[in-house]
Amino acid sequence: MNENLGSPVAAPYTTTSNNPGRIMATVMVALAPSTLYGFWLYGWPSIYLWLITIASAMLGEAFFLRAMDRQASKALTDGSAILTGWLLAVSLPPWAPWWIGAFGGLFGIVLGKHVFGGLGQNLFNPAMVARVALLISFPVQMTSWVGAAPLFAEGSPGPLDGLVILFKGIPAAFDAMTSATTLGFSKTEMSRGVDLLQSAAHAPALSMIGERAGSMGETAAWLIIAGGLMLIIKRVISWHIPVAMLVGVALPAAALNAYDPAHFLDAQTHLMSGGVMLGAFFIATDYVTSPNSPVGRLVFGFGCGLLTYVIRTWAGYPEGVAFAVMLMNALTPIIDSHFRPRIYGRNRKGLPLQVAD
């Protein structure tokens, strides 16, 4: 009989069929509907940008792994670089020039992930690192939004026009397409002294379906929620972060809107605009950069929501999801050490329970 039957490793001798590749694939499936809607809504330029961003993220991953003498093929197939690229792409303005996607993908993977030590080691969400870097470096390109230009619709750019937009910028023919986001519009108007009650009439319409100006994959709230629910049911993510983040945005928004509707947008507008939905379900829930106890996740999620609201309302930028998530990422180790789950047979402080007589 075989003499090497039991190599001396500890039990268990059976394991789940789950693996990181499958988790990433599930997230991609959940992310696909809202992304496809974004493709349809913003047409060919957005598809090209998406492809370029992902390709550059994968290139960055391969290059770095090769530089570290690690096998690149294995890491590339686990899907984490694709997902980083994908999340970055859907948070970009859909008609951004090609180099935004190319630079962002490389930047996110290299400075967001590999300089920290690769998969599982990064402190900040790589996609958000890239987005914030792009926003600070190229504010014009990163805040140039377009309205709906559905695929195959009359007046929308075709496949070739898409390439032109991507590589040479938006030609005059499509200039009329540019539009403002609700958050950007109200911020601009407020800065001109026009309060929300007056500007509301001209504000870009918000739509539950998602037909509005915004980042490539953030507009279709219902599809994002559907994907997020799928992840929760499949137990890829827990409900804590998304719910806490949405509450974190909605609660102060509702309170301040009730107090002074002329200066504070209502909760529904806050929830439905910008990247809140995408952030709550797909970005803040990133495993590596979020806490791992249920209470910690609630604190983290609420912090993301609250900071998003604070940045949107009082800071210079109209949108704050990326900043909020990164700030909370930085707090994750502290949250993790403060909010540990209660251990069986011990109280919350970690001391043994008292035997009741």
Partner: protein, 506 residues
């Protein structure tokens, strides 16, 4: 099962591995023909090894005492077959190390003749201590795998006035069905044993927890316990590790055992169903523990099922009896979640062996470990509420005290974390390693503390002696001076008064 059940009815801890229990659990119990030789190890229990009382060449009957218990926590060993003591030597231990340990080899005479056993008509008339004494003399130990001498636990339960006996019929380990089988085929023995244990510890009720994936066992046990209202059969959700005592206690009574206390201190005691059946045999029939039901299962086995076999039977004989489909890729003693890998098959069946698994190559395949992605699945699965990924991160850099800060000592090594880990990190291996290192460090610390104490005592003694010498010298000098002064004073006594003389000497 709807998905609402998944969220509300099941416990939040644990995992739900594919149980692989059937068809082995449904196959009728088979009896192993008496093997030619059995190898009865002297340590099949927690505590001191038994001390042999037979000599080579001696004829023994089945059930005859071979080795006596030694020390407060120990258990005796009896002959599983009748025949001749062939040798007292070493066999490979059922342990991952594959190291040898002492065993008594008996060559069977094929007769299987029992010793004269003392039948007890009404064991409930016996004093509780007598039940414990009989169980101890029969070598009954926890058969769920812990192999702690049962009588010691009875005494503990009696002393702490345990009200509730929890009977563990959880059998949450995949592949195993020996407890299932004993409940289906010998429910009356189990229930009688439960009542005897209750009598021994003075418990008022017994809760028999059986996972709801064993409906036949639940039905059989309900029937057997129908006339005893104090024995309650309680189906529990199928969830690994339901058969771990802390989790079963929590599920059945809602009580939590404090991390530094024993179950008896919260008024419960846990015994396995097979242990209860062994108590029944020991007390009512006077039969020592020499046989057990063992599950033979796994992809490499031709006819998986449960076998009634004498202890000390070699795994080789068991495998030959059930047949092999091919070369096993891995042999495991116990279940796949917490079992022990066997280096080869020339290892004897011991009291705590509920199963022998022979995995084929597909079952034995272990995916390569990847980096931790901090998904937290391990923390969600941990039935103790620990943070496996944090402990592992500390252990990886040899920071064992850091891991201890995350209550590594509370880890029950159930394997849930390593099972669910999508990156297949061998977390239990990390924890076992760290626990071993911490224990070694503790031993070193005790030793250096002892050395330090001795060294300090020595220097204190030397110091003291030096001081005493100095004092003695000073005293002598003082005496001498005093004498000299007295002499001098005596010489010129009229001239000076004594006060002055005294003042000079001090």
């Amino acid at each position: 099962m709807g998905f609402l059940d998944r969220f509300f009815k099941e416990p939040s801890w644990g995992v739900h591995p594919d149980d692989h229990k059937r068809p082995a659990a449904d196959a009728p119990l088979r009896i192993l023909p008496t093997p030619e030789r059995v190898y009865m190890p002297l340590s099949q229990h927690v505590g001191g090894a038994a001390r042999p009382i037979v000599v080579v060449g001696q004829k023994v009957l089945k059930g005859q005492l071979l080795a006596d218990a030694q020390g407060n926590i120990s258990a005796p060993i009896h002959a599983p077959v009748s025949g001749t003591v062939f040798s007292i030597g070493e066999v490979t231990a059922p342990h991952a190390s594959g190291l040898p340990f002492r065993a008594i080899t008996i060559e069977s005479d094929g007769q299987d003749r029992w010793i004269d056993t003392e039948l007890v008509a009404d064991p409930f008339a016996l004093a509780p201590e007598d039940i414990a004494r009989k169980a101890a003399a029969a070598g009954v130990v926890g058969l769920g795998g812990a192999t702690f001498p049962s009588a010691v636990k009875f005494a503990l339960g009696k002393r702490l006035k345990v009200e509730t006996l929890i009977v563990n019929g959880g059998e949450c380990e995949p592949y195993l069905s020996s407890d299932d089988r004993i409940m289906r085929d010998f429910a009356d023995q189990v229930v009688d044993g439960v009542r005897l244990v209750m009598h021994a510890i003075g418990a008022k009720e017994a809760l028999v927890g059986i996972e709801d994936n064993k409906p036949e066992a639940i039905a059989a046990m309900r029937k057997a316990a129908a006339s005893f209202s104090e024995v309650k059969i309680c189906p529990v959700p199928t969830r690994y590790p339901m058969g771990s005592d802390k989790q079963l206690i929590q599920t059945l009574t809602g009580k939590e055992v404090p991390s530094n206390a024993r179950a008896a201190e919260v008024g419960v005691l846990v015994h396995n169903v097979s242990t209860c059946a062994a108590v029944h045999k020991a007390v009512r029939l006077g039969q020592p523990l020499v046989e057990r039901i063992v599950t033979l299962n796994g992809g490499a086995i031709a006819t998986p099922g449960n076998i009634y076999a004498p202890l000390g039977t070699l795994v080789t004989d068991l495998l030959a009896f059930v047949g092999l489909k091919g070369e096993p890729a891995r042999l495991i003693l116990g279940g796949p979640m917490m079992g022990t890998p066997l280096a080869h098959d020339r290892i004897p069946l011991v009291k705590g062996a509920s199963g022998i698994l022979a995995f084929n190559a597909a079952e034995a395949a272990t995916p390569e470990a990847g980096p931790c992605i901090r998904c937290g699945t391990c923390a969600d699965a941990c039935p103790m509420g620990l943070l496996p990924m944090e402990m592992a991160a500390h252990i990886r850099v040899e920071d064992f005290e850091g891991a201890e800060g995350y209550a590594l000592g509370d880890c029950i090594s159930c394997g849930c974390c390593a099972y669910v880990c999508p990156s297949h990190i061998p977390l239990v291996q990390y924890f076992s390693y760290a626990k071993g290192e911490l224990m070694a460090a503790e031993r070193v610390k005790l030793r250096t503390d002892a050395t330090k104490r001795l060294a300090e005592a020595r220097s204190a003694r030397i110091e003291r002696e030096k001081q005493e010498k100095a004092e003695a010298a000073a005293r002598r000098k003082a005496e001498k001076d005093a004498a000299a002064a007295a002499k001098a004073a005596a010489a010129k006594a009229p001239a000076k008064d004594s006060g002055q003389a005294q003042g000079e000497t001090v």
